[in-house]
């Protein structure tokens, strides 16, 4: 495969990718279907912003946010069924069960670990130790500005953590498991080794004070944007949306079987952070995963960072062997599993 030159790099030499918005297929069907799948994303975002901005205090609670999140996920599952991006990404019973297992871990083990030993707990401990208060600089700003700041602070941290995971082998080990997914579906964002899911949730947000409603608004905006990273739905996202926000197209490229394509589009919600640092590529891919698309079992997903880490340490101690590359850079040598 010849690949496509994008800036200084050539992508798509190991697996097919599509580069450039003009080459990406559009929603097919009648005018109603095309209208729905063009305006669904902005309409859902606007509806959620209006709801959380004006909801009375008795409703504007975390429990309402959880309920809306579950309902939104259920709606998107229906959209996956109605208008799939690729038939090769169709949700099966086994995929759904696997995805839900990781969602379950997110709500239980990972949430408990994040609550007690996550970055917010460390921020609280540090502020307590310094007898300092949270930085309340932003609390008098308009609610929407606060919400966008929370989103940006979180996304900025996540961008660098994610980029670090693709460039430093010890961080790549837990993250690599997430790159073994071979299709994108609504709950695939939760699939990964629990250590990685804990690490990716770390941030400096715990040092700041914002209005509680701003947190809820920010969570809703984040949900209405970042959920589309992993989804099997074809949308005609408006041009401004694609410029500002991470889309399925961007993220499918990031999950491509082509190594060079995985080294782009690191942000969670705000793709303009990638644009700022020159790591954004507009495009998409259908063939996803590692090792030629080998599907990893749950057991291997749990043990892989440790077994590979052990192998790497042994290799490090053996001068004849090399430290493996982060980001799966050595996987071209691995034969597809047949």
């Amino acid at each position: 495969m010849d690949g496509v030159r994008v800036g200084n790099r050539v992508i798509g030499t190991q697996a097919p990718v599509t580069v450039g918005w003009e080459n990406i297929p559009k929603v097919e069907g009648g005018p109603v279907k095309r209208f729905i799948f063009t305006w669904f994303q902005p309409a859902a975002l606007l509806a959620l912003v209006v709801f959380w901005y004006y909801a009375p205090n008795s409703i504007a609670k975390a429990s309402t946010a959880i309920g809306i999140g579950i309902g939104f996920n259920a709606l998107l599952l229906v959209l996956e069924w109605v208008n799939p991006r690729y038939d090769s990404w169709r949700l099966t019973w086994k995929e759904l069960a696997t995805d839900l297992f990781f969602v379950g871990l997110g709500y239980t083990v990972i949430h408990t670990a994040s609550y007690y030993i996550g970055s917010d707990a460390w921020a609280d401990a540090a502020l307590n130790y310094l007898a300092a208060d949270h930085f309340g600089w932003f609390m008098t700003l308009p609610l929407l500005v606060q919400a966008l700041l929370i989103l940006f602070i979180f996304d900025f941290g996540q961008y660098w953590m994610h980029r670090g995971m693709h460039n430093w082998y010890p961080l790549w080990l837990p993250h690599s498991v997430h790159h073994y997914i071979t299709q994108l579906n609504i709950n695939k964002g939760a699939v990964g080794n629990p250590i990685e899911l804990f690490l990716i949730g770390l941030g400096i947000g715990g040092f700041f004070d914002f209005l509680p409603r701003a947190f809820l608004l920010s969570g809703a905006i984040g949900m209405a944007i970042s959920t589309y990273q992993h989804i099997n739905v074809r949308f005609n996202s408006p041009r401004w949306w694609r410029f500002l926000f991470n889309t399925t197209e961007h993220h499918s490229l990031h999950h491509s079987q082509d190594y060079e394509s995985t080294r782009c589009n690191y942000s969670n919600s705000l793709i303009f952070i990638d644009r700022m640092f020159g790591t954004c590529i507009d495009g998409e891919a259908e063939l996803l995963g590692m090792e030629g698309g080998r599907r990893m079992s749950i057991r291997e997903q749990m043990t892989y960072p440790f077994t590979e880490g052990w192998k790497a340490i042994k290799g490090r101690l053996d001068p004849a062997r090399n430290w493996p590359a982060a980001g799966g850079g050595n996987r071209v040598e691995t034969a597809p599993h047949v």
Partner: protein
Amino acid sequence: MIPHFITWIWHIRGSLALAPGQSSDDAFDRLDPLFHQTGTSRDRTSDTLTFHKKDQAAQDKMSVFDGGVLRIEKSTAGPVLRYHLTSRALLFCFLAPLLFLALAQATIAVNRFYTPGTSAADKQAAAKAEEKKKAAEEKLAKMQMNPIDKALGAPAPKKPGADDKGDEDKRKPTPKPAYVFAGIFAALYLVGRILEDRLIKSLFKKRLLAS
């Protein structure tokens, strides 16, 4: 020997009548493409097909199964395909509720571990935290709403003391999600056990009847 009613959890057995006069070779030739998949190995004799799968692809139509035996038997009514398939995914899904129930208990234990004790130092720390929380609430109550939010009609922040039991530390882990997921996996298992049984039967039937 594990009793049949226990192995039923992850073993799917069934049979399909073949067309009168259909040979074993013809039947297996029709089913053969199903076993030409990534991670699948198969062994075929005149009347038996044995297969194993490892790291099967998500879109493999038999991805839920890890192995099995298909046998063509002669009966008085004509040839019959009998199959016996095993699925670790079904077994895992059956056991998942137990895992989530264990996680619920672990959450309770962790919460208990982090609950302040009764020593003087613990009491002092708890009082300090309570004081800090109150001060933060008062600060919030005194804070002027941003004029833009006021003009746009956003509700004013909650006053301290009002509906305090509503959202008090809602982030604190509780065993409830683990119980919910135990229920989800119990339901998912039942759906999967029935659905996959029917899907495989219909898949074999479609292949065998395909002209």
